[in-house]
Each structure stands twice: as structure tokens, then as C-alpha cells.
């Protein structure tokens, strides 16, 4: 029975994980510092991502769950975040809300740009999708004609990663050096996209690193607990017939 059970479990697993993967695996998987059991964020990269987020994204999008004080959870000191907030004329506890009002947004883009706090967790493909989208714009007429034979709708922009390929958002990272990084890193489109995606991962799950660190200890505890329970079970059961 156990062999059959194992076979069924494996078959189930491959079916289930296969179908989940099919949904999220359409975008080239990237290497992210936050992935894996020991994943973490690099402070410099977060700050670079913050720079892109506040100087580019924040023009139209909000991060309504994030204040500068929240960034202390990512390893920034109070002085550091106070300096950042001051540069934007914001208080420490003010949330990152765009200055663009809804009426203007509707007029310009036809819709209100979505809040970005949870964006990395709100699309199939997760962080890989965000990066694919930010680097997926093209103005090559050949590419557009191939993907959209009927042509691009009025006011829309072509994007390889976006479902349906016609996105309302104009290319936010249209050229290199849109921002100047504090650490001298060259701000290429690819670099800016990776940095802001990492920052968005942090805004989506600010607890992630604590979670991953604690999880390892809980797992180790449970392995030892189970082992001790198993040994106790063997001792207690040793006189039972047939065992």
C-alpha cells in the first residue's frame, strides 16, 4: 500500500506543481537576492530601488502601505530615513502617496494607476513579471505588428510581457540614467528595473527576511522534536506484539 501511496503522492505533486508553474513560469526567471532559504536584501540595492520608486514611479503610482519609518525594518537607521523623507518634503510617518490626482490620471491614462505596495505579489510571475514588464517595452513596428496584427489601440503602449501586449502605462524606464544612484552604480534600464523590482518585493512583504530567518530555527526544532518523539515511540511500543 505504501508504495502505491508514494506513487500517487508523487503523481499528485507533479500535476499540482506543474500546473502552478505553468501559470507563473512564462517570464524568464531572474536571480533575486531575496529568494531561497537564506535570501536577504542588500541595503544599497534597496536604496537604489527606492530612488527609482520615488523619482520615477511615485509621479503616478502610490505605495500606500509604506512610510519612510517602515524602511527602518529593512535596516535603515532613523537618521537615514529622516534624511530621505526630508528630501521629499515628507514626514517620517507619511505614506508614499503620489501627487497626481485621480481626475488627471483618468484623463491622461484612461485609468487610475494601481497602488504598487503589493504589486510584486499581485501578478502571476511575481518579481520576474515586474522585471519582464519594466524591460518589455518595444517601439519596433515589426515586433508590434507580429504580436498585434490588428495594431495597437489608441493611447496604448506595446509591452511584450503585459497580457494582451497593450498597456496604458507609457514606458517608465525609457532610457538609461533617468536617476543618479548614491553608490555610483550605472543606471541602465536593466539595472533600474532590477533595483526597483527588489524594492517592490520589500514593499510587498517587509516581513520576508524575518520570516525566512525564523523559519529555519522552527524547522530545526521540529526535526529534533520529531526525532525524539520517534525514539520515544519505539521505546514505548517495543513490547507490543507485531512491532
Amino acid at each position: 500500500m505504501y508504495r502505491t501511496l508514494l506513487a500517487v503522492t508523487l503523481a499528485t505533486w507533479s500535476l499540482v506543481s506543474g500546473s502552478f508553474a505553468a501559470e507563473s513560469g512564462t517570464y524568464a526567471p531572474q536571480k533575486w537576492s531575496f529568494n531561497g532559504l537564506h535570501g536577504s536584501y542588500e541595503k544599497n540595492q534597496l536604496l537604489r530601488g527606492y530612488t527609482v520608486a520615488t523619482q520615477v514611479c511615485l509621479a503616478c503610482h502610490s505605495f500606500k502601505y509604506i512610510s519612510h519609518r517602515d524602511m527602518m525594518r529593512a535596516g535603515f537607521t532613523e537618521n537615514e530615513v529622516a534624511t530621505l523623507a526630508k528630501a521629499l518634503n515628507m514626514t517620517l510617518d507619511q505614506k508614499l502617496i503620489t501627487a497626481q490626482d485621480d481626475a488627471t490620471a483618468r484623463e491622461t491614462f484612461g485609468k487610475i494607476p494601481p497602488d504598487l505596495s503589493l504589486m510584486n505579489k499581485a501578478r502571476g510571475g511575481l518579481a520576474d513579471y515586474t522585471h519582464a514588464l519594466l524591460t518589455g517595452y518595444s517601439e519596433d513596428p515589426e515586433v508590434i505588428k507580429h504580436a498585434l496584427p490588428a495594431g495597437l489601440p489608441e493611447g496604448a503602449h506595446f509591452n511584450k510581457a503585459f497580457p494582451g501586449h497593450a498597456i496604458a502605462m507609457p514606458n517608465p524606464l525609457a532610457s538609461d540614467d533617468l536617476v543618479t544612484y548614491h553608490d555610483g552604480t550605472k543606471a541602465t534600464v536593466d539595472q533600474m528595473s532590477r533595483d526597483v523590482t527588489t524594492f517592490m518585493q520589500w514593499t510587498a512583504e517587509p516581513e520576508r527576511i524575518e520570516r525566512q530567518k525564523l523559519g529555519l530555527f522552527v524547522l530545526m526544532y521540529l526535526v529534533i522534536f520529531s526525532l525524539l518523539a520517534y525514539l520515544s515511540k519505539r521505546v514505548i511500543w517495543k513490547d507490543v506484539k507485531g512491532h
Partner: protein, 403 residues
């Protein structure tokens, strides 16, 4: 029943022997002792019998984590989504409690599915345990209701649209269906009144489940556990006391269960969820594919497999309700599949088919998936249709008379 009205001798002094004094007046300690300590349990139970107590622990964990979530959650369409983010970001250990509750729901279903599969394989539903099995099906139905209601509470896109699709199913009830749906919503669409009542019911139902679980245990203790051989045990030596033998075995099982559970809680809390539920509910934007939680997928596939909506709803509910009559469909005298060569293979085919149905439920209802769903649905009901025939014609292998 004749009542024995002779007065019972009791311990007179509360100071001399307070425990006996109390127990003589309310036999609570004796009840726990008879049910959990000296309770005679077959000595040949395998690890498949761990899942009953695991389900109980999973239920308690859901109630405890749920209680703490309820202290911070706000059942208001304008506040619900934000209050969940407040739990995830600002409440001390809020992310841990919520992840445990989310992953816990999935794992509760995994445990209960295995528990039911074990009953199916070893014939635990057969006489004299038909009522025990039936109560189990009631628990399963209540769990599904609770799981569905709970998934609506975060008020994400999938919450909203899942609630819309599933509540609309009731509109197929002849004549009064549409009115029932309006009554259920408390309006003309899923909205604030719906969220409020779903929250109330989601809080209430787990305690109803606890009550029914008591009945489940009561019925279990009446005839004791079935066992892998499926035979009636008559000898004293075939039994061992529940404590310490099964307490330690269940504790070991709990440890093993908690390892993948913990892994999901800490490393993949949203893997079994849907990314669309991180988008706040928007009645004006319909998601490309509306899919329920994974544990409903096999039944969702049955619903969609049938082209007539009314029949689909009947088939979906029927696919669960048919479990109530299982003891009368399968009247084969041998309980355990170990000694039933044909049923054994049919059982595994049924399990694989159930997984296949779940996969169909996840896929869009088009092309080849529809064909597979239909074949798979036919097999699901075919399994139950074949059981009466097997009961008549399947020749069992010789069964042992004792362990």
C-alpha cells in the same frame, strides 16, 4: 431503557479526596480517562490512523489563529483589505498568525482528504460505523462552507468574484432561487452586508464543527476504531490502551505533519493562494479566470463539466452527498481493500481520478479540458455505481480471523 435509580455511593468529604469527590458528582475525569487514556485501541493501526487526531489539531489551530486575526480584522468593504495588510505589517507576529491560518486551511483539507481516503480504503464506513461516517461527511460539508466564507474575508479580487460565482449557483433552485441569492447577499450583488454576514458565519461555523466532532468521537467510541484488516476484534490482547501507545504515536505524527506545514508558513505562505487576491476587490473588473481555492477544484470541475448549469450544480452537490449513502452502495461483507483485489485497484483509480478532476478545475473550461473533465466526472460517479455490483460479485481473498 430502564433507569437505575438506586442512589450511588459517593465520596462524602471534599477535603479527604477532592478528585474523587468531584468525579463522583460530575464524572468529567472518568470521561477523559475512558476516552483518551485507557480507551482500548486496536494494536495494529498503521500511520493512516494518525490523521483523525491531526485533523482535530488542525481544527484547534485554525480556531486559535482565527481568534487572534478576528481581533484585528475589519469586516467592512472599505476597510477589510487594508486591515489584512495592517495584520501583515503592523500587528506583532500578525504575518505569522495569518500565514498559519492561510496555510492551516489548506493543510486541514489535506489531512481530512487523507482521513476520508483511509476510511474509503479500509471500509471504515461499513456497519456498524455508518453514522460515524455520515457525521464525518457533515463535518466535511461544514469545513467547505467555512473555507469558502473565510476566503471571501480578505476582500481581494478572487474573494469577491469567487463569492459571486458560488453564491450565484443557488439561483438555479426552481422558482425561489434568485430570491434566495438576494436574501443571502443582503442586496443585489455581493457587497458590504454580504461581507458582514460571511464574517459572522465564518466565526460561528468552526464552533459548530467542534460540536459535531464531539458527536463523531462519541460514535467512534461506541464501536472503537476500525483497523487495517477490517475485521472485528474480539480478543482482549488485540487492544492496547490509547495512552501511552497512541498518544506518543500521534505526537510523532504531529511533528512530521508540522514540518511541511512550517515550511509553507515561512517560505511559501501564498503558494497555494492566488495572486489576484492581492488586488483589492473591484466589482467593475472581472479576473481572466475565476478559480476557487485548490481544495474545491475537483468539485468545481464537476460543476463545469456538465453543460446544463442546473444539472452541473446538482452534480456538484451530489458528488459530496453521495458519500452519505456509501455504506448502502458498498455492502460487500469484507471491509478492508487489502482483501478485495478489484476494489483495491478501483480505489486507487478513484484517487487518481480525483486528482485529475482537481487539475481540470484549475484549467480553463475549453477544448481538451472539457473532454477530460467530462470523462473524469463520469468515472467519479461510475465508481459509486459499480460498488453495488462489486458487493455482489467480487470474490474476496481469505481474511484472517484475528490480528
Amino acid at each position: 431503557m430502564i433507569h437505575d435509580i438506586t442512589p450511588i455511593a459517593v465520596e462524602p468529604s471534599i477535603t479527604a479526596n477532592p478528585v474523587k469527590w468531584f468525579d463522583d458528582r460530575l464524572p468529567l475525569i472518568s470521561m477523559v480517562k475512558n476516552g483518551l487514556v485507557v480507551y482500548p485501541t486496536p494494536r495494529n493501526l498503521n500511520y493512516m490512523w494518525n490523521f483523525g487526531s491531526l485533523a482535530g489539531i488542525a481544527l484547534v489551530l485554525q480556531i486559535l489563529t482565527g481568534l487572534f486575526l478576528a481581533m484585528h480584522y475589519k469586516p467592512d468593504i472599505n476597510l477589510a483589505f487594508d486591515s489584512v495588510q495592517h495584520i501583515m505589517r503592523d500587528v506583532n507576529w500578525g504575518w505569522l498568525i495569518r500565514n498559519m491560518h492561510m496555510v492551516g486551511a489548506s493543510f486541514f483539507f489535506i489531512v481530512v482528504y487523507i482521513h476520508m481516503g483511509r476510511g474509503l480504503y479500509f471500509g471504515s464506513y461499513k456497519s456498524p460505523r455508518e453514522v460515524l461516517w455520515g457525521i464525518g461527511v457533515v463535518i466535511f460539508l461544514l469545513m467547505m462552507a467555512t473555507g469558502f466564507l473565510g476566503y471571501v474575508l480578505p476582500w481581494g479580487q478572487m474573494s469577491y468574484w469567487g463569492a459571486t460565482v458560488i453564491t450565484n449557483l443557488l439561483s438555479v433552485i426552481p422558482f425561489i432561487g434568485p430570491d434566495i441569492v438576494v436574501w443571502l447577499w443582503g442586496g443585489y450583488s455581493v457587497g458590504d452586508p454580504t461581507l458582514n454576514r460571511f464574517y459572522t458565519l465564518h466565526f460561528l461555523l468552526p464552533f459548530v464543527i467542534v460540536g459535531i466532532v464531539m458527536l463523531h468521537l462519541w460514535a467512534l467510541h461506541q464501536h472503537k476504531s476500525n483497523n487495517p484488516l477490517g475485521i472485528d476484534l474480539k480478543k482482549e490482547s488485540d487492544f492496547i490502551p490509547f495512552h501511552p501507545y497512541y498518544t506518543i504515536k500521534d505526537i510523532f505524527g504531529l511533528g512530521i505533519y508540522l514540518i511541511p506545514f512550517t515550511f509553507m508558513v515561512f517560505y511559501a505562505p501564498e503558494y497555494l493562494g492566488h495572486t489576484d487576491n492581492n488586488i483589492p476587490a473591484d466589482p467593475l473588473v472581472t479576473p481572466a479566470h475565476i478559480v476557487p481555492e485548490w481544495y474545491f477544484l475537483p468539485f468545481y470541475a464537476i460543476l463545469r463539466a456538465i453543460p446544463i448549469k442546473e444539472l452541473g450544480v446538482v452534480a456538484m452537490f451530489g458528488s459530496i452527498l453521495i458519500l452519505f449513502v456509501l455504506p448502502w452502495l458498498d455492502k460487500h461483507p469484507v471491509r478492508s481493500a487489502r482483501f478485495r483485489p478489484i476494489y483495491k485497484w478501483l480505489f486507487w483509480a478513484f484517487i487518481l481520478n480525483f486528482v485529475l478532476l482537481g487539475w481540470c478545475g484549475k484549467m480553463p473550461p475549453e477544448g481538451i479540458y472539457v473532454v477530460i473533465s467530462r470523462l473524469s466526472t463520469a468515472f467519479y460517479f461510475g465508481f459509486f455505481a459499480v460498488l453495488p455490483l462489486l458487493a455482489k460479485y467480487e470474490k474476496a481473498k481469505p481474511i484472517p480471523t484475528s490480528i
